[in-house]
């Protein structure tokens, strides 16, 4: 295969990854890794570098829209960023000692968790009594409603949320993906952050977390220009299209279809990993 053909195919695949990633809220990395490893036989250590690039591109690309609306809780994000950044550093160190098969199995497990969470009904928390620790850390906030008013919210379980975040950071250091699913579990299920706030805050965090490991990966040579270029450009434009489409599309069906695709890829990854085919 010529470089030109590979670049064009990757550009199209990355566009699709960015589009699906932003419509489903999973980020571009989840699609980029299987395309590279399963379709092109690329080494996982290169695929993870490409996924990091995809994660940062999705996060920054869609992030610019959210900050202005004032939904993102910057304090919450920044505080939890300590956990994810340290986790990412540890993950990037651990990744050196993991072979392709082990990474494939870990990735498969994260995919199963991701797919499963697509079916869990999201409940919007109201009237949560916040904890003392959260109050001291000034993590309570407001978020704008459709009618222009501001809804006040409190949150709790800071310590357990922080611990889950450090695992999320470690996984994104190993896999390069945003591990948005763990971030949502930590903020939505444990800390009881309103869903809109946890989604945008998670998006903010994904970019910073990915940077913490990307600075190591780029120096190790895991991020190769020949792959990074089409991935970055494709994912960015895909994410931009996705953000536009999101206003007109009902994505709940798409999410369910995507979840089944995720299960299939996960099964494939784990099977090939266990039988040592990578």
């Amino acid at each position: 295969m010529s470089i030109l053909l590979f670049t064009l195919i990757m550009l199209a695949a990355a566009y699709g990854a960015g589009l699906l990633g932003s419509l489903t809220g999973l980020g571009g990395g989840v699609v980029v890794i299987p395309v590279l490893t399963l379709c092109f036989g690329v080494d996982f250590h290169y695929a993870v570098g490409a996924a990091l690039v995809a994660s940062i591109a999705t996060s920054s690309g869609s992030g610019s829209a959210y900050v202005k609306e004032g939904i993102t809780n910057i304090r919450l994000g920044m505080f939890l960023e300590i956990a994810t950044a340290i986790g990412a550093v540890v993950g990037a160190i651990v990744a050196v000692y993991l072979n392709n098969n082990v990474i494939a199995i870990i990735f498969g497990c994260v995919l199963i968790l991701t797919g499963t969470m697509q079916f869990v009904k999201k409940q919007d928390h109201t009237g949560i009594k916040g904890s003392e620790a959260a109050r001291r850390l000034k993590l309570f906030g407001t978020w704008p409603q459709k009618d222009g008013s501001k809804q006040y919210y409190e949150l709790k379980n800071v310590a357990s949320g922080f611990s889950v975040m450090s695992i999320a950071g470690m996984l994104s250091g190993i896999l390069g993906i945003g591990s948005g699913v763990l971030k949502v579990i930590a903020m939505d299920n444990l800390m009881k952050v309103p869903f809109k706030v946890s989604t945008t805050t998670s998006n903010f965090m994904i970019g910073v977390t990915a940077c913490a490991s990307a600075v190591v990966y780029i120096q190790r040579g895991n991020i190769v220009p020949g792959i990074a270029c089409p991935v970055m450009i494709g994912v960015l434009f895909g994410a931009l299209t996705g953000a536009r489409l999101l206003k007109y599309l009902n994505v709940s069906l798409l999410r369910k279809i995507f979840a089944f695709a995720v299960f299939l890829v996960a099964a494939n990854m784990i099977y090939m990993g266990v039988t040592g085919q990578f």
């Binding site: 080494d43 910073v208 940077c211 190591v216 780029i218 040579g221 970055m232």
Partner: protein
């Protein structure tokens, strides 16, 4: 003192960072395809941490990237785009740090400084 609207600035930083990164990488991509487009795809099937062939200076070191820029090395150009992309969220943390200082929120100035120092120390240490 006139307060700067940092939320607005942060939003703009993200947009500009992504745009600049994309343009630089696209320039690199065009050079890359013109020079090497018809060649067979490089071997990405195995990566080794010890093999020096997997760590060419033109895209793994700051010096290498910048000297490659002046000699119109395609890989260095693309990688400069990647560096710009990585710096975008970092810039956002830096701006938030100043935002918290401006609000006299010392706790969160400290927290942003910790996050920033983790990223910076990690990038200097490299391996």
């Amino acid at each position: 003192m006139q307060k700067i609207d940092l939320q607005q600035l942060i939003g703009n930083t993200l947009r500009w960072g992504v745009t600049i990164a994309c343009i630089i990488a696209a320039i690199g991509g065009v050079i890359y395809l013109v020079q090497h487009g018809s060649e067979p795809m490089p071997d990405y099937t195995t990566f080794s941490y010890t093999d020096p062939a997997c760590h060419p200076a033109d895209y793994t070191t700051v010096d290498g990237i910048f000297s490659g820029i002046f000699s119109m090395n395609a890989r260095s150009w693309i990688q400069l785009g990647v560096v710009a992309l990585i710096l975008t969220p970092v810039m956002r943390v830096i701006l938030s740090f100043f935002d918290f200082i401006q609000e006299r929120d010392w706790l969160y100035s400290l927290i942003s400084a910790i996050v920033l120092s983790i990223i910076i120390s990690n990038s200097i240490k490299g391996f």
